[in-house]
């Protein structure tokens, strides 16, 4: 093991060099301030040590000008850093159009990955070089955190909600994936690898690992097997909302409020149906808490999304970012 090999972390995503620029700028500024203050302290300590013959007349004990200077100058510098950082932070939360979505379910102590084509993997994530990838993540138990140091990204993964993170990989290779939020006994073992491949290799990898069904097709199966279609299907006798094309639409609720049918709305309507009853319907739907796994939930969402895509003719992924929380 050589120190040189680990000396600097690779910059393997499109955001990494920009974040590092701010990092080195702040290291430089803070280093300058530290060295300056240490130097002044040292000089004063030597020059004004007891017994030295330095001039001690006209000693000041206060000066409004000096105080205001070292109040306002640092403040102005801080505002500069703040603005710079915000610009980058906003971009970290704005995936480029056309990002491909991959789904992540975290649980003690593993990462389960599902690709839209139905490919599934555990603790390894294959992604194409140079193409924006967006992860929609949730947890089946406690809070975890998806952290890839080489990409300079980190996002907590919470039970009961979807969080998102995006990156564009810019270097081929294998990079560490860590869980960064303490999650119990084997927290330090909850790691994995992100494998960045050339787009052609990635396409071949997808082909080789394609499951029998795409994620949306699997969702359609879940929709039937769990009996969702019995009430929400086209020919159902029960008075329940028709879910064809529901994704991304505006829904009026019984309490008079309006919500957008996004991932979280669909998740909560299945797990906690009493909290969001659609206007004009009775609260008769049972909760599926503990019966549907988070992976199946993601498949269901992918299925509902695909019915919306057919209805509106837009691609099934991307474009829904405006009303989701990150």
């Amino acid at each position: 093991m050589m120190l040189a090999a680990s000396a600097w972390l690779p910059e393997a995503s499109s955001m990494a060099p920009e974040i590092d620029t701010l990092w080195w700028l702040m290291i430089g500024l803070c280093g300058l301030v530290s060295v300056g203050v240490f130097a002044v302290m040292f000089v004063f300590a030597v020059r004004y040590r007891r017994g030295s013959n330095a001039d001690r007349s006209n000693r000041h004990t206060r000066s409004l000008g000096i105080e205001l200077t070292w109040t306002l100058v640092p403040f102005a510098m801080f505002i500069g850093m703040f603005v710079w950082s915000l610009v980058l932070f906003a971009r970290l939360h704005t995936p480029p159009a056309g990002s491909q979505t991959i789904y992540v379910v975290a649980k003690q102590w593993m990462w389960k990955i599902q690709h839209p084509g139905g490919q599934r993997e555990i603790n390894t994530l294959h992604v194409p070089l140079g193409q924006p990838v967006r992860l929609t993540m949730t947890s089946q138990d406690v809070i975890h955190s998806f952290y890839v140091p080489a990409f300079r990204i980190k996002q907590d993964v919470l039970p009961g909600r979807y969080t998102r993170v995006w990156f564009t990989a810019t270097k081929l290779g294998r990079f560490n994936l860590f869980c960064a939020e303490y999650c119990g006994l084997d927290h330090s073992k909850m790691g994995g690898t992100v494998v960045v491949m050339r787009p052609a290799d990635y396409a071949r990898w997808l082909d080789r690992h394609a499951g029998p069904d795409s994620l949306a097709t699997r969702g359609a199966t879940v929709f039937r097997q769990r009996g969702c279609s019995g009430c929400h299907g086209a020919n159902a006798s029960v008075h329940a909302p028709d879910l064809d094309g529901i994704y991304g639409r505006r829904v009026h609720l019984a309490d008079g409020s309006t919500v957008i049918a996004d991932d979280r709305y669909i998740h909560d309507s299945i797990m906690l149906p009493d909290t969001q009853v659609v206007a004009g319907y009775s609260p008769i739907m049972p909760s599926f808490q503990g019966q549907i796994s988070e992976s199946d939930m993601l498949a269901l969402i992918a299925y509902l999304k695909s019915t919306s895509a057919k209805a509106s003719g837009s691609p099934a992924t991307g474009g829904e970012s405006t009303h989701e929380q990150h």
Binding site: M1, M41, A45
Partner: protein, 538 residues
């Protein structure tokens, strides 16, 4: 020790506060603020040793990438280390010991406003400590000191409730101390001791008390909610029960960020006393120092969200919290500049308390500056929950608060005990501590940037070299903490008599005998501006 010659004539005839009632019961039923301060000091020393042993286990484990302990033991060790060091050492450290001892002396009072409440505070502290330590003896806790939900409420199979009850009870000890300090400062200042004559240490005690009284109840509520969910299954934080895990983080950090100021404000005040004394001049920008302490206390309440930039909190909330976090760094910067400017045209000597104080300024500055990077959301994204954060808050709390605490213990030791310790040994351990501290924690900044997450029992081998540096530093640090215990105890029997004012300091506490009599002052002390070093000592 030339400074002793300058001391006033000894006053051996004055009976000190140690004289009245020497049995154990006399100490356990005392209402004398000085004795309560000493009770607290002894208790937190025991807790510091316990937390230190846990730290030693952590550093030992991390010598090997695979970990020398098993994961369960390691997780319990860092949880115990955090809980004990935060609530049973750092929070009471300066206020409950030196603050208790000195606040009435510094304002010319005979005791606290509520002496019985003061003693009750110590008892609650001990009872809370017993609950927490009993959890360790019964098998430990593995949640981390932050008790994040739903792990702490629904998933951990350890003694979470015992620890939560212990911390809950201890919180009331903090609140009692805060109430006592506020009322004492308002009502018991002697004639002539108006607000802008108060030593900065008193200002620090006053502002920290405000934070204690306003923030700690929120901790009590949050811990109660943990109990409610864990014992009765009331859905507050666990989404499976309809709760929200981020609610916990908001509540927890609403207390725990101001708690950082509970730990650092007293250190800032304390170091100002020490620096003024050994530079022998008025602290530069006294009024700005007081304003900046108040600013730290107030703005410190509005920055908790910077612990949550990657938690899933709204982007807009992150922006506001980031701006406020940069803002709260300004008053801290003002203090560093003022301490530095105080050295200008001084008459400086470098006794042990001064070395500790200068060490504090340097380490606090490095801790504070790295805090700026964590306040910038785009940098916080890669850095949070890594060793960078560990290094940052150890620079502030260990490099800052613990260094300042030891500066204070050395500075007021002659006043508290009437004895001088071995100055060369004290200087040696101050320097050793500075070196050991940097060797322990500076590598952790680099580890964090390199991507090593915190709370990892095992780690990829490329992080080993820096971890070995850190563990080596920790063993030096351990020696530098044990040395003062030895030579300070030695001084109790063999140290030279200190005299009333061995340092030639100007605070009121130096105008009475060492150790002071039970009623603090036999003669009415002369009140002047704090830090009247330009005038001869009274």
């Amino acid at each position: 020790m030339s400074s002793i010659d300058a001391g006033e004539s000894m006053a051996p005839s004055t009976p000190s506060f140690y004289a009245g009632g020497e049995g154990l019961m006399a100490w356990l039923t005392t209402r004398d603020h000085k004795r309560i301060g000493i009770l607290y000091a002894l208790t937190i020393t025991v807790f510091f040793a316990m937390g230190g042993i846990a730290a030693a286990m952590i550093r030992l484990n991390l010598v090997e990438p695979a970990g020398l302990l098993d994961a369960e033991t390691y997780n319990k060790a860092f949880t115990f280390h955090g809980v004990i060091m935060v609530w049973f050492f750092l929070i009471p450290s300066i206020p409950a010991t030196l603050g208790n001892f000195l606040l009435p002396l510094m304002i010319g009072a005979r005791d606290m406003a509520f002496p019985r409440l003061n003693l009750a505070s110590w008892y609650l502290f001990v009872i809370g400590g017993l609950f927490t330590v009993s959890a360790l003896l019964l098998g430990g806790v593995d949640t981390g000191w932050t008790f994040y939900t739903p792990f702490s409420t629904m998933f951990s199979n350890t003694h979470v409730i015992l620890v939560v009850v212990g911390v809950f009870i201890t919180g009331f000890a903090t609140i009692f101390t805060g109430i006592n300090f506020i009322v004492t400062t308002h009502t018991l200042r002697m004639p002539g001791m108006h607000w802008f004559r108060l030593p900065l240490f008193v200002w620090a005690m006053y502002t920290v008390s405000l934070v204690m009284v306003l923030a700690t109840p929120v901790l009590a509520m949050t811990l109660s909610l943990i109990g409610l969910e864990r014992i009765f299954g009331v859905g507050v934080f666990d989404p499976a029960l309809g709760g929200d895990p981020l609610l916990f983080q908001h509540l927890f950090w609403f207390y725990s960020h101001p708690a950082v100021y509970i730990m650092i404000l007293p250190a800032m005040g304390l170091v100002s006393e020490v620096i003024a004394c050994f530079v022998r001049r008025r602290i530069f920008g006294y009024k700005f120092m007081t304003y900046s302490m108040v600013a730290n206390a107030v703005i410190g309440f509005m920055v908790w969200g910077h612990h949550m930039f990657v938690s899933g909190m709204s982007v807009y909330a992150s922006m506001v919290f980031s701006l406020l976090s940069f803002t709260v760094a300004v008053p801290s910067a003002i203090k560093v500049f003022n301490w530095t400017a105080t050295l200008h045209k001084g008459d400086i000597t470098f006794e042990a308390p001064m070395l500790y104080a200068l060490g504090f300024v340097g380490l606090f500055m490095l801790g504070g500056l790295t805090g700026l990077m964590l306040a910038a959301p785009a940098l916080d994204v890669p850095l949070t929950d890594t060793y960078f954060v560990i290094a940052h808050f150890h620079y502030v709390m260990v490099g800052g608060t613990v260094m300042a605490y030891l500066a204070g213990i050395h500075f007021w030791w002659p006043k508290i005990t009437g004895r001088m310790y071995s100055e060369p040994l004290a200087k040696f351990s101050a320097i050793l501590m500075f070196v050991g501290f940097n060797l322990t924690f500076f590598p952790q900044y680099i580890l964090g940037y390199e991507g090593m997450p915190r709370r990892y029992h095992s780690y990829p081998p490329q992080f080993q070299v820096l971890n070995i540096f850190s563990s080596a530093g920790a063993s030096i640090l351990a020696v530098s903490y044990m040395l003062p215990v030895l030579y300070l105890l030695w001084s109790l029997r063999h140290g030279a008599a200190a005299g009333n004012n061995p340092w030639g300091a100007r605070g009121l506490e130096w105008q009475t005998s060492s150790p002071p009599p039970e009623e603090n002052f036999l003669h009415v002390p002369i009140v002047r501006e704090a830090y009247a070093y330009d005038e001869p000592a009274p």
